[in-house]
């Protein structure tokens, strides 16, 4: 047991914690705010919303992104929607119900206080976005429309066709650009963070590489926020964009930030199946499709008939069969596992590889093609472009794929990591989703952190700590810059035979086969033997062409893959130590009828790993989880 992890959960009843805490926090007076600076790494939903809000408050913000423009951040690709406990549908929703669903959906492995706050501010997010002009879907009365998402029995998901993430990101981006125009936010694009600079135990700056010139830059501030997204690309093939990486978070980890629950990864049930070995990514089909689509396989194994020729009686609508009350809207981890079980049993609907059907025949008969096109038109179009098949006529073929990572840097209630002054927001932190995230909750969390949590908690940090003036001439900056340059020099001079992608693909294979949708002690031990060998292969045989002082996408990728290899090893160790099944972490040894079996006596805690240097293994620390409001119970969606 460790005393290093203080979650700083405020006392009081669950519904008064955040309110009381906000009142007790110290404030920075308006005139003093402009004397304080904040660095933000990443400008997706969490980063851009934080940059806009902190800029509005008067802080001097420096925002960095790897992209040419903040509007490219991968939040843009989120399709389905954003949850909020508005109860506009009068169907019994409430803050408490959203809180309850999220704790249960996360299989009782999230911190209650954080989840409650998330549900509490969810309603403000919708209001804020509407005020920014985000064009949410509306009904004919002009009011906001909702749809249903997995793991909930109420309709609380707000959406903008199948492009909700894009619209919310652009809202946050525009709010941030307004602050850029006003001179409050200094936006630095095409910069990759390669180190956190710690001075006297506090995060006081970053080292970034200018991706156009290769220059290594030093930047100082009073606090640093990492909002760099998740690490699904450790699997090589995932629904993440190509530049999504663990690098910023990992560099923070190496400077003392604990990494929590790395084994909690979400495999999304509805993605396009793998088509070939040259494939560079997997494409998600929004969960919202399960509102109207029915998932099935043939009852006959290896059935090669055309799907439209298989009569209803010979179809196994397995989600409806196994989970009669949630049906096709079972949560993601559950739906993914059921698809895997069907394919493992020989019911895959494609001769090479694995897939199940997602069928809109009945919905089209009931509502007409036009209604379905209005709801999902862009998704159907995207499916047809990739697969060459028309989903209005033939059922979609889908299969689970790595999508989201619940694990991330450990943070306390104030979203601060174990390094004072280093805050973590959005998917990059571990805080709100436990072992499984419900659909439409990622956008909610990113914006909650950026718009409504960090602007308060960072103010409290700045007001409560005496922060001496630090410039980039400080030795700590020089040391960090030298170390970064040395590592780049090392990678450039390996000059081996293997491309970065070939090593990344090999890592992905190891992770997917051994630490993917299901894990065993045996598979994890196997991976823990393979990964160190791959690490050695990387550091002896990778080939990066070109030079370090120019645009060099291969060098960028190489640095990211080096970090993914180290993370992969930690994921496997974390998965091995967590000798139970929960949410997305499915240990085959612990199941009953294909459902995850938790071990609350031994594992009702967060595992947070402390970096001990390159030559030593990380240390595992625990933060006990207390469930005082939602009773610990076996999750059931039947």
């Amino acid at each position: 047991m460790s005393n290093k992890l203080d979650s700083k959960i405020p006392s009081g009843s669950i519904d008064s914690k955040w309110k009381d805490h906000k009142f007790k926090m110290k404030l920075v007076n308006p005139a003093n705010k402009r004397k304080h600076s904040v660095i933000i790494i990443g400008t997706g939903l969490a980063g851009a919303s934080a940059a806009a809000s902190m800029g509005e408050l008067g802080y001097k913000v420096k925002a960095f992104c790897v992209h040419e423009s903040p509007r490219r951040a991968h939040s843009v690709a989120a399709q389905g929607g954003i949850n909020a406990a508005k109860n506009y549908q009068n169907d019994g929703d409430s803050i408490y119900r959203l809180f309850y669903d999220t704790v249960k959906g996360g299989d009782f492995r999230a911190r209650e206080a954080n989840v409650y706050r998330l549900a509490e501010v969810s309603t403000n997010i919708i209001d804020q976005c509407v005020a920014q002009g985000v064009p949410f879907a509306r009904d004919y009365g002009g009011l906001l429309a909702n749809r249903s998402f997995g793991g909930a029995q109420v309709s609380r998901t707000f959406y903008a066709r199948g492009q909700t993430g894009q619209q919310l990101l652009i809202g946050a981006y525009q709010a941030m650009m307004r602050q850029v125009d006003l001179g409050n936010v200094d936006l630095k694009t095409r910069r990759e963070m390669l180190d956190v600079v710690v001075v006297n135990g506090q995060a006081r700056g970053v080292i970034v590489r200018n991706l156009l010139t290769g220059e290594i830059e030093k930047h100082e501030a009073d606090a640093v926020i990492i909002a760099s997204g998740g690490y699904s690309n450790v699997f090589y093939l995932s629904t993440n964009a190509m530049a999504c990486a663990v690098t910023a978070a990992w560099k923070g980890h190496k400077r003392g930030a604990f990494f929590a629950n790395p084994c909690y990864t979400q495999i999304h049930p509805t993605c396009l199946p793998i088509h070939g070995s040259n494939q560079s990514k997997l494409t998600l089909m929004s969960e919202s499709l399960r509102n109207d689509g029915r998932v099935w396989v043939s009852k006959t194994k290896n059935d090669r008939r055309h799907p439209n020729e298989i009569p209803d009686a010979e179809r196994d609508y397995y989600l409806e069969r196994v989970y009669p009350s949630f049906g096709n809207l079972a949560p993601r981890d559950v739906a993914s596992r059921q698809a895997k079980f069907r394919c493992d049993e020989g019911h895959s609907v494609t001769p090479h590889g694995e897939a199940v059907f997602l069928d809109f025949r009945d919905a089209i008969q009931r509502l007409g093609e036009a209604k379905i096109a209005e709801r999902y038109g862009n998704l159907f179009q995207m499916y047809e472009k990739i697969s060459g098949e028309n989903p209005y006529k033939v059922p979609m073929k889908i299969y689970p794929a790595p999508h989201y990572t619940m694990g991330g840097l450990w943070v306390d209630y104030n979203l601060m990591s174990t390094v004072p002054g280093l805050f973590v927001a959005g998917e990059a932190n571990f805080s709100d989703h436990g072992a499984n995230r419900l659909g439409a909750s990622a956008l909610m969390q990113g914006l909650a952190d950026g718009y409504f949590v960090l602007p308060y908690t960072i103010g409290d940090y700045i007001a409560s700590n005496k922060l001496e003036k630090v410039t980039t001439d400080h030795d700590a900056f020089k040391e960090a810059k030298d170390a970064t340059e040395k590592e780049i020099h090392k990678i450039m001079n390996i000059k081996g035979d293997r491309t970065v992608d070939s090593i990344h693909k090999e890592l992905g294979r190891i992770m997917w086969d051994n630490c993917g949708m299901s894990r065993t002690e045996e598979s994890l031990k196997k991976a823990l033997q393979q990964i160190p060998k791959l690490k050695e292969e990387f550091w002896n045989n990778v080939r990066v062409p070109g030079a370090a002082n120019e645009i060099n996408p291969e060098l960028e990728k190489a640095g990211r893959v080096a970090d993914f290899i180290e993370l992969g090893e930690l994921m496997c160790r974390d998965a091995l130590e967590r000798d139970e099944s929960c949410g997305g972490h499915f240990r085959e040894e612990h199941q009953a009828d294909g459902e995850a079996v938790r071990n609350d006596e031994k594992f009702c805690h967060v595992a947070a790993w402390e970096w001990n240097g390159t030559s030593k293994a990380q240390t595992r620390h625990q933060e006990e989880l207390k469930f005082e409001n939602v009773k610990l119970a076996t999750r059931s969606y039947k």
Partner: protein, 263 residues
């Protein structure tokens, strides 16, 4: 997914080391391409071979590979994002091509989009257009209830259709004048279609158009090539609306007084 045969293509790719160097076309063979591969996956394979041979891989911007981030984009045989309508180049699949095809790949050509390297261009001018007024000024925490102000469904849908722009720059690259009118007007129209955007409508259109001109984009001569090449089908109507809005604002313009000074 189809089981059709693999194909071989010839690529003539614009290679340019940097914005200060001159560039030229270079020929490459793309061998054993699967029709199920995306266009960028085909280029990945060409790059893997170039790296193995010790040559410099072809630089191109890309990220989500789902047609939504707007990072990718270059000309294929003179068409922005290639031959398939309403499709970004990352969503373009090789089944659109035939064995033996010869494809010319070149970057967006526009004075306001200088080439960075090979097929990569600098589109930061778009960010500066948004920065000059493409937003609604509302600070965090000031918002009334989302349903306090009903918005007719048609207006909300119209706002969405304009807001769907991904900022890829195909409109500029396809325009003989390299005009950014479609991009700029999509944002003007989006914010014009919702009630929250009314307060700043005049200031917004004047400022954004002024920035667009200052960035070196050309004038619009209504040929419509922008909309025809747009992967998100942003309508030409947006430009008409922006022009009308601009005219009205230019005539209505009131001198701005800074009240804060007197406080």
């Amino acid at each position: 997914m189809s089981d059709t045969k693999k194909m071989n293509l010839t690529l003539r790719v614009w290679r340019q080391k940097g914005s200060q160097q001159s560039g030229s076309f270079k020929e490459y063979l793309a061998k054993d391409v699967s029709p199920d591969d995306s266009f960028l996956e085909m280029l990945d394979q060409v790059n893997e071979q170039l790296i193995s041979k010790g040559e410099d891989p072809i630089a191109f911007d890309h990220d989500c590979r789902e047609g939504i981030c707007g990072s990718c984009g270059f000309m294929i045989n003179g068409n922005a994002h290639g031959p398939q309508k309403s499709t970004t180049v990352c969503q373009l699949h090789m089944r659109q091509f035939s064995d033996g095809d010869v494809l010319n790949l070149e970057p967006w050509r526009a004075a306001a989009f200088p080439v960075i390297k090979d097929l990569m261009v600098d589109r930061s001018a778009f960010d500066r257009i948004i920065k000059s007024g493409g937003y609604i000024s509302v600070n965090t925490g000031n918002a009334p209830d989302g349903n306090a102000l009903p918005i007719p469904k048609v207006n909300a849908d119209e706002a969405f259709s304009s807001a769907a722009c991904i900022g890829c720059g195909a409109c500029v690259a396809s325009c003989k004048n390299a005009s950014a009118a479609l991009f700029t007007s999509a944002k003007v129209t989006h914010l014009l279609s919702v009630p929250q955007g009314q307060v700043e409508r005049e200031r917004r259109v004047l400022s954004m158009v002024e920035t667009m001109d200052a960035e070196g984009f050309g004038a619009c001569s209504s040929t419509g090539s922008c909309s025809a090449s747009c992967p998100k089908d942003i309508s030409l109507v947006n430009i008409a609306k922006m022009n009308k809005e601009y005219l009205k604002a230019a005539f209505n313009k009131k001198p701005e007084t800074n009240l804060e000074e007197g406080v």
